[in-house]
Amino acid sequence: MGVKFDFRTKLLVIALTMSLVAVLTSDILIYTLLVCLCIYLLIQGFYRQAIKYFAVCCVFILLRLFSGGNGITFLMPEMFLFMVLRILMMVMAAQPVFGMPPGEVVAVFKKIHAPSGIALPITFTLRFFPTIRSEFADVFSSLRLRKLLSWKHPLDAMEYIVTPVIFRSSRIAEELAASAESRGISNPGEHTCRRKLLFRKQDWLMCVIAVAITVMYFVLEGMVKV
């Protein structure tokens, strides 16, 4: 099933990845970071997800190589390809926290004394994305039935997809928040967790490796710039 890391380790990896994708400019460093993230997912047992993310990232890398840095038509300018690749890498780093038990997330935030202004939105977000996933399938089916999905009018199609998803998302977000509120999520007192919060050897090891890799990338980035 793969190695289990503590939520704090996963948070550190997300924070380090975010700082790296924001700073790194060298393509080769970005591509090798992609490989590191795939290994990070694989050792935790996210085999299918690692392959999917890797494949999608490869498509975007190939598109960038193919376009020679000029982008592909007005629909996919270079900046779009550049951004998508980096966003995908952040999502890869965040993958292990999607679907985590909410009690563990809340208890860790309490333990590290994270301000509730940060902790509560993150807890909601973790639950929110899996919940709206199925909404997209319904939207696509409905668009096809109404014959509104057309490659000839991609911007219209994009608007049609986004509009219902945004409305549905806001409703789901409200219902989820109401449900959490009625179950004491904002209790300022102690929160417990049915899964024991243990920061084990593998967590220390992962944190050291993640920090070391990050430092190495910063150094290499500096050398590339020079």
Binding site: G99, P101, P102, G103, V106, A107, T123, R127, P130, T131, S134, E135, D138, V139, S141, S142, L143, R144, L145, R146, K147, L148, E159, Y160, T163, P164, F167, R168, R171, I172, E175, L176, A177, A178, S179, A180, E181, S182, R183, G184, I185, S186, N187, P188, G189, E190, H191, T192, C193, R194, R195, K196
Partner: protein, 493 residues
């Protein structure tokens, strides 16, 4: 409404009104109500009558989460609700919401059930005990360790109840708990409610469907325009004449009083012929070798338990999914998957995912760019939506959204129309409206298939039933004269 000593009063309302921020008028007005400890009350009334708001006042969300203006005095267990911090109310009042999909936080059953206890700092050793007891109380041992997302609505509802049960509040508030459930799951819900009542809990249920509550509830309170208007005991409710019930606009309390429609004149023109259809997800067969025919004017209830393939069949019939084997003939011709949407239109259960326009009028214009304002107005008037022409579809009520999806289907105008649970969460008047409208469409020669768990709606609307009894068999029977069979098919699991 009931006089009793203070220490036995679980919920007390004195001249309570509540207005949501931005609303033009209060949603509930001048409510006086006392609910005794251990009492079971049902709030009913048409959509927008204020019953959900009343439940939100009890669980503290109205004031603290929706941030509206509350006037009057509300007390829980003898203490003014304003004296409780919002997070403390959850220990006294457990809430079970209408849509099971959007009330879960965890992926796995035990984590979800433990969530409330974890938030209240229940010690580690006690947590496991509470989870085990809550699971036992719902007879949910089979659900342990399972992912919640793929579960049926009934199973999700059970887990929602268990997760509240683990915190052990005195008061339980249910907001339309049966809206997304099949009849078998409604029976299971009823048994869980019975256990809660027997354990001495106070229960408040806001609900349209009343038939399953008559031998549980102590009082039925009818609301209209934000006010409590009538109060019945279960016996009084059951004794209402059909005429009186329909004029008040509530759903039946006694399924035996439902009458079928007189036999309709179905034309002999064959519109659908499904021949030996099979479908499997990867290697798991959903259905095999299914065959049936339908004719112009048929209004068919598609029934069967969750997961038997009703929605999958509908998706195949309109070309969203592809069958593994078999044929679909429309009007006598074999139709390829791509062209099926020219013949059959599918109105999905989730209406909000089917609107793409900025306004109700624009929604219709999307499928007929050249339509004149007059044509749009005529259609909206037909569906009782002309007043909302400039409103965004997302701001409409459940019944209005359902009518708008039907108005859209009118313009797409396929000979076959398939609907998935069109009456889920609808009050009697909206259900009646949908029923009448579908009948009028069949009179014009359309063939309509309705996936439904709603006995009342199926009995008063459809002429035939297709019951998915198992993977490779459909039982096809007329509803007229077969109400007992319809009931037993809907109750089967």
């Amino acid at each position: 409404m009931t006089n009793c000593s203070k220490e036995h009063t679980a919920i007390s309302f004195e001249k309570v009104s509540f207005q949501y921020p931005g609303a033009e008028s209060p949603s509930v007005k001048d409510i006086n109500l006392e609910v005794q400890t251990g009492e079971f009350i049902v709030l009913t009334g048409g959509s927008g009558c204020g019953k959900t708001t009343l439940t939100r006042i009890i669980n503290g969300l109205a004031n603290n989460f929706y941030e509206g203006t509350l006037t009057g005095n509300v007390s829980l267990l003898g203490v003014p609700i304003s004296d409780y911090p919002v997070y403390e109310i959850g220990k006294l009042v457990g809430s079970i919401f209408q849509d099971p999909r959007s009330q879960f936080f965890a992926s796995i059953t035990e984590d979800e059930i433990a969530f409330g206890c974890e938030n209240y700092g229940v010690p580690f050793e006690e947590l496991e005990m509470r989870v085990t007891k809550a699971v036992k109380d719902i007879n949910g041992e089979m659900l342990l360790g399972k992912e919640i997302y793929p579960m049926s609505s009934g199973e999700k509802q059970k887990i929602a109840i268990a997760s509240v049960n683990a915190v052990n509040p005195q008061i339980y508030v249910f907001d339309e708990p049966s809206a997304n459930l099949d009849m078998f799951s409604v029976e299971a819900l009823k048994e869980l409610m019975r256990k809660l009542k027997q354990a001495g809990h106070t229960i408040v249920v806001a609900e349209h469907r009343l038939y399953y509550l008559t031998d549980l509830a102590d009082r039925f309170l009818y609301m209209e325009n934000g006010r409590l208007q009538k109060e019945w005991s279960a016996m009084e409710l059951l004794q209402l004449s059909e005429l009186e019930r329909k004029s008040i606009g509530i759903r039946t309390a006694d399924l035996q009083k439902i009458e079928t429609i007189p036999p309709v004149q179905v034309k002999k023109t064959e519109t659908i012929s499904v021949e030996n259809l099979s479908f499997a997800y990867r290697k798991n067969p959903v259905f095999e070798d299914l065959s049936f025919k339908a004719y112009a004017g048929d209004l068919i209830a598609i029934i069967g338990h969750n997961g038997v393939g009703k929605s999958t069949l509908s998706n195949i019939m309109c070309g969203i999914k592809k069958e593994n084997a078999g044929n679909i003939l429309y009007c006598g011709k074999k139709v390829s998957r791509k062209r099926r949407k020219d013949f059959a239109y599918f109105v999905m259960q989730n209406t909000e995912s089917q609107f793409f326009g900025d306004s109700v009028a624009e929604e219709l214009r999307l499928n007929r760019k050249k339509a004149t304002d007059t044509q749009i107005k005529e259609l909206l008037t037909l569906y009782g939506l002309s007043e909302w022409s400039d409103f965004h579809p997302a701001t409409l009520s459940g019944g209005q959204k359902q009518r708008l999806t039907l108005a859209v289907s009118d313009w797409i105008d396929t000979p076959i129309l398939i609907l998935d649970e069109p009456t889920s969460g609808l009050d009697f008047q909206n259900m009646q409206r949908i029923s009448d409208h579908l009948k009028s469409l069949t009179e014009k020669g359309k063939t309509i298939l309705v996936i439904t768990h709603d006995y009342e709606f199926a009995a008063m609307t459809c002429n035939r039933a297709l019951y998915f009894s198992d993977r490779n068999h459909i039982d096809d029977f007329p509803i007229q004269g077969n109400l007992e069979k319809l009931y037993s098919c809907l109750m089967a699991h």
